[in-house]
């Protein structure tokens, strides 16, 4: 049994991105305010009301900076929903893509008919204190002076450059394409186009990771509404069908003997999702890849099988812009639109929906029918990213 074409995205909501609260006296909003705002936008988009979700699905991504284990339940209280099926998206930045699979399975089994998936974070305007680090990070990383994800991704990036001869020109092409798309996206945060030289000359943050390699933390809220295929047909927007889904947590690349820290779990998750959807690489019109760092986007293009590992020529000859052979990050990605903690990954689902509805505006991928979205989360010891979820979306069920 498969969940192919059993559920469709029927509404999306996204608050503007901001970084308010970092300076004294700036206006501030709470996570709860971004959550309510994102829900209202999603309900308006779908033409549904709060009451439609009583006894239905609610999925909530669990942010890193809010160490409260009952957050999904609290969100139900904040919003005034009485869900019949409540899921927490606990796979870090992969959470919103993971929820697509979980909610589609619940819809397919007739537990529910519709689900609201939502998340928000306000890292600049809310401060909850430290939180607890995972044991491996606390005991085997931080005592050596590691500086968060930058340190580990810097080691992945350096190794890739060493092993395959990857240069800043190869990586910078990804950064330039993303920013170009952001310049065409009124909702992006960083919109001034950049050149390869701008990328190469940006400040070293964690050698060889540079400022323009890194995601931009931000405040904001994001939501989508998933409905059964039958229900979706009766709603106002063109349904975007979930055609394939795959997930891998704790992929074995990394800490074990003889393992390869340059391969990501999307290799397995992508294969499962594409087989479920019945699509091949040539069928996929665009990619929206989780982008905490440029090198992470680069690795995923390899690991999803669009080229062989270390095939530099592929990156040299491929046009990654919206009119090119393989459009990626068509709205600019989180690197240019901002990352409200684990809710950030929802951005890629929302952009894929816009493209598949034909709402891409100046950055619309021509004849877009199939898009692939990934979500990644957590940086476990000795590996790249721990939780990898992939969804294939399409505008025909």
């Amino acid at each position: 049994m498969s969940i192919r074409d059993k559920a469709a995205i029927v509404g999306i909501g996204e608050t503007p991105t901001d970084r308010l609260g970092s300076k004294p006296g700036e206006p501030r909003k709470s996570s709860a305010e971004y959550i309510s705002w994102a829900m209202r936008l999603a309900l308006e988009d779908a033409g549904l009301s709060l009451k439609d979700f009583n006894g239905q699905g609610l999925g909530v991504t669990i942010p890193t900076a809010y160490p409260q284990p009952f957050w999904p339940e609290e969100v139900a209280e904040i919003l005034g929903i009485t869900p019949g099926f409540l899921l927490g998206g606990a796979t870090g930045g992969a959470g919103s893509v993971s929820l697509l699979g979980g909610m589609a399975a619940a819809i397919n089994s007739s537990l529910i008919d519709v689900a609201l998936c939502i998340g928000a974070a306000a890292p600049f305007s809310e401060h909850f204190g430290g939180g607890i680090q995972p044991g491996d990070m606390r005991d085997w990383e931080i005592p050596y002076g590691t500086m968060g994800p930058n340190s580990k991704i810097a080691m992945v990036m350096r190794r890739h450059m060493h092993q395959y001869g990857t240069t800043l020109d190869h990586l910078g092409k990804i950064a330039v394409a993303g920013r170009y798309h952001a310049s065409l996206n009124p909702a992006a945060y960083l919109r001034k186009p950049i050149t390869i030289e701008d990328y190469k000359n940006s400040r070293l943050v964690a050698d060889p990771v540079r400022l323009l390699d890194c995601v931009l933390p931000a405040n904001g809220g994001k939501a989508y509404i998933l409905a059964s295929t039958e229900r979706a047909k009766k709603l106002r927007k063109r349904p975007v069908s979930l055609k394939g889904f795959g997930e891998r947590s704790n992929p074995s690349y990394g800490a074990r003997a003889g393992s390869d820290a340059l391969i990501m779990g999307v290799k397995d998750a992508g294969k499962v999702a594409m087989e479920m959807a019945g699509v091949k690489h040539g069928d996929i019109n665009f990619l929206e890849l989780y982008d905490d760092y440029i090198i992470v986007v680069y690795l995923q293009i390899e690991d999803l099988g669009f080229c062989a590992k270390g095939d530099l020529g592929y990156f040299e000859r491929t046009d990654f812009t919206f009119k090119g052979q393989l459009p990626i990050q068509t709205g600019g990605g989180m690197i240019n639109c901002g990352q409200p903690s684990t809710a950030g990954g929802t951005l890629h689902i929302l952009e894929a929906v816009r493209q598949l509805r034909g709402e891409g505006g100046d950055r619309q991928v021509p004849n877009a029918e199939i898009g692939l979205v990934s979500g990644l989360g957590v940086l476990p010891y000795g590996k790249n990213l721990g939780c990898c979820a992939v969804a294939v979306l399409g505008n025909e069920a």
Binding site: D136, Y144, G145, S151, M155, D207, A257, G258
Partner: protein
Amino acid sequence: MAELDIRKPLPAITTEAKPFWDAAAQQKLVMQRCQDCRAWVWTPRPSCFECGSERVEWTPMSGKGEVYSFTVIRQVVGRAASKAFEPDIPYVIAWVDLEEGPRMITNVVGCGVEEVKLGMKVSVVFEQQSPEIWLPKFKSQQT
């Protein structure tokens, strides 16, 4: 001097890891090895991550390895405790592949940051951080 009060964060001595820290205090590097499937198991845990066996035993390591990759920390960011590392800047965070197979996150010490290279052969040294904690770090085998 308030800044002297900022201490480097120390690992918790968990029940799983206590034998590791006891050995490190004796200048010995040990890791768990599965007595059933012979896999090396790192970081410390109650069972083998290859076969699930709970027969994992602390076993001496050669203490030799090579640099798989590294980064140079030139700026502290994030948590308040990170400030304690400021006097060490610039310093190297590395992934070291041990001869037996496991990959450790550690520091390469005893040489300039510009001398560290991928593939560089290194061996373990222990730096005392507290009465109980001696952190295994690595230095070039050439020095």
